[in-house]
């Protein structure tokens, strides 16, 4: 037998013996494949230093980028439960435990209150790493409480969407969160408290078809996937290839569903500007305080 012939098929090395570069040092860009150090990436607002690709980041990364230093996390004591005892390839409660362990998060949404350029703002941000950023009862309740908090203190709300849509394991309960979040946002609109919807990669399904499209101002990161139906579903339905750039932020801006697209390096300034214009009296004027 030739020495070059494989005796056993497949990879024999156990996962635990796999040799890998240590985590947290390097990032290889998904798009241009060029490497940069995590430090460089972070300094560049988590964008590829070569091609400006916006790497997916989590809720706390956005809080760090946007808030003036300190912020307070709100409603962190709300946990999902496997009310329907839903089991697909694994039970939902196992999925939840694994997601909590893997991400160190409670659920796919974290809410925090802080200041952006000295003006108060409540941000509700999603984590795609937690079951695809899916919307279940917890997300609905956090948005509901965030709205009450914002109405009470008359502080603007910003939701950062990054989600595959409704959480199937909560079946109709997740579907009803579309209605729940919408009725709450109708109270914001009626009270004249601003709500900004910031869409990031990806925002699809029930999240897009409810609060993500309902901002007083809707804006997105460049090249984010945004849509109602996922591209695979559409492709299977119409049995045709999808046009280039379909369902990107740029596509939505062009079709009139976004107000603007913002590069992550300009995000804080832009939100600061919105807060300045929508809530001019939220900072004591310089002259008075001086």
């Amino acid at each position: 037998m030739g020495w070059f012939k494989r005796l056993k098929d497949g990879i024999q090395t156990a996962t635990k013996n796999k040799k890998e570069a240590p985590d947290g040092l390097w990032n290889k860009c998904k798009r241009c494949k060029k490497a940069s150090t995590i430090k460089e990436l972070k300094e560049n607002f988590y964008k590829c230093t070569s091609c400006d690709y916006h790497v997916r980041i989590g809720s706390h990364d956005y809080f760090d980028l946007l808030f003036d230093g300190k912020y307070t996390e709100l409603f962190s004591n709300i946990y999902a439960k496997d009310f329907l005892e839903f089991t697909d390839l694994k039970p939902y409660h196992t999925r939840l435990e694994q997601a909590r362990e893997k991400t160190d998060l409670v659920d796919s949404m974290t809410v925090a209150e802080g200041k952006v350029n000295r003006r108060p703002l409540v941000i509700a941000a999603m984590d795609f790493s937690f079951i695809g950023g899916s919307m279940g009862s917890v997300m609905g309740q956090k948005i509901s409480l965030a709205v009450d908090h914002c109405l009470d203190k008359r502080i603007p709300l910003m939701i950062i969407s990054k989600s595959g849509g409704a959480r199937m394991m909560e079946s109709a309960f997740s579907l009803m969160q579309m209605a729940k979040t919408s009725v709450k946002l109708s109270q914001m609109a009626k009270a004249g408290v601003p709500y900004f919807s910031f869409l990031t990669d990806p925002t699809t399904g029930g999240v897009t078809a409810s609060f993500a499209m309902l901002g007083d101002v809707n804006f997105a990161e460049p090249e984010a996937l945004i849509g109602f139906a996922g591209p695979r579903v559409i492709k299977e339905t119409i049995k045709k290839d999808l046009p280039e750039g379909f369902q990107t932020s740029e596509f939505l801006l062009d079709h009139g569903f976004l107000d603007f697209i913002v590069n992550r390096k300009d995000l804080k300034t832009r939100i600061g500007d919105l807060l300045h214009l929508f809530t001019p009296n939220s900072v004591p004027s310089e002259k008075v305080s001086a």
Binding site: D88, L89, L175, M178, K184, K240
Partner: protein, 328 residues
């Protein structure tokens, strides 16, 4: 008659019945006793089959090709009905129909998803899958109802909002979202009925109201069992399992408090006695509208908001709140 897979025992009984009737007609033999015995047996078998339907069987019944669709109910419930077309922006969606009608002296604005009755019409109606224009037409009609202070009735029967290129270009998500926030604050009563399939955003896009009901052989879910199977089990073969796991039947939905009640159907499904179903829907609408019409606008909207705001199952744990987490 079209028999579903799980109705096979009925089909053979019906065949037998036909044969015996034929014999009776051909010869001079008295078959009346045999006929009545068989008819009893059919009734009994039907009862047995229908007393314990699975989720997937309800899904199949909701899609029964002879099942009455939206316009059938509207035309038979309303003494007068004028269909109104178009969203005034782009075109007239054929998968959502609606207009102004009169149910026993009460003018209502009534609308719903419409499926086609034959192959040609099914295509024309896009299988009950609406484009954004459908949702925008529905909203236009609701605003019209608000202007003239008429209650709104929505009949839901859709396998989902249409997933197509043009639908995305014209903002399928925005159209559904807009309806949700507008229906939340609509000043007139809104009654919603799932009369067939209640799939996901396509259903809830005209499904936010003061009271939500489901007919007995229908389903309401965040996703169709087929798509759920393909996503979570990564195969199309688990649709029965998915239908059970999703707990999408009217009985489950009512048990969870997500709907306000169930409308009984004639034994064997709405299609076996469609006019009976029309009458029972009409009675139900009249009964449910009466108290809603009496309420003040403010009370009604507040109750609607509370109704949806209370939906959700989660634990509130006592954990140390992450006060003043310091950034950077």
């Amino acid at each position: 008659m079209v028999f579903l897979e799980f109705e096979k025992p009925l089909e053979s009984l019906y065949e037998k019945l036909e044969k015996i009737k034929q014999v009776g007609e051909d010869g001079d033999i008295d078959v009346s006793q045999m006929v009545s015995e068989l008819e009893d047996k059919i009734k009994q078998t039907r009862k047995e089959i229908y007393s314990s339907l699975t989720g997937w069987q309800k899904v199949q019944l909701s899609r029964h090709p002879e099942r009455p669709y939206c316009l059938y109910y509207i035309e038979n419930m309303c003494k007068k009905f004028v269909e109104l077309h178009g969203d005034r922006y782009f075109n007239d969606d054929k998968a959502i129909v609606g207009g102004i009608g009169n149910i026993d002296g009460q003018t209502v604005v009534i609308m719903g998803h419409q499926k086609g009755v034959n192959t040609k019409m099914r295509q024309y109606r896009n299988f009950g899958m609406a484009n954004p224009e459908g949702y925008r037409k529905a909203l236009r009609l609701m605003k019209l109802a608000e202007r003239f202070n008429y209650p709104v009735v929505c009949l839901i029967d859709t396998p989902g909002a249409y997933p197509g290129i043009e639908a995305e270009e014209r903002g399928q998500a925005e159209a559904i979202a807009r309806n949700l926030i507008e229906m939340a604050q609509l000043k007139v009563p809104i009654l919603c009925y799932v009369i067939g399939e209640g799939a996901s955003g396509g259903a809830i896009g005209i499904g936010l109201g003061d009271k939500i009901f489901m007919m007995e052989n229908t389903w309401y879910s965040v996703i169709s069992p087929e798509s759920c199977s393909s996503i979570l089990w990564r195969s199309w073969d688990y649709k029965e399992k998915a239908a059970e796991a999703l707990k999408l039947t009217p009985e489950h939905m009512h048990g969870f408090g997500l709907i306000d009640g169930i409308l009984k159907e004639p034994l064997g499904g709405a299609h076996t006695a469609p006019m009976d179903m029309v009458k029972s829907l009409k009675r139900h609408i009249k009964k449910e509208l009466a108290p809603l019409v009496e309420m003040s606008v403010e009370d009604r909207i507040n109750a609607r908001i509370d109704k949806y705001n209370s939906i959700g199952e989660y634990d509130v744990r006592s954990v140390a709140v992450n006060e003043n987490a310091v950034a950077k």
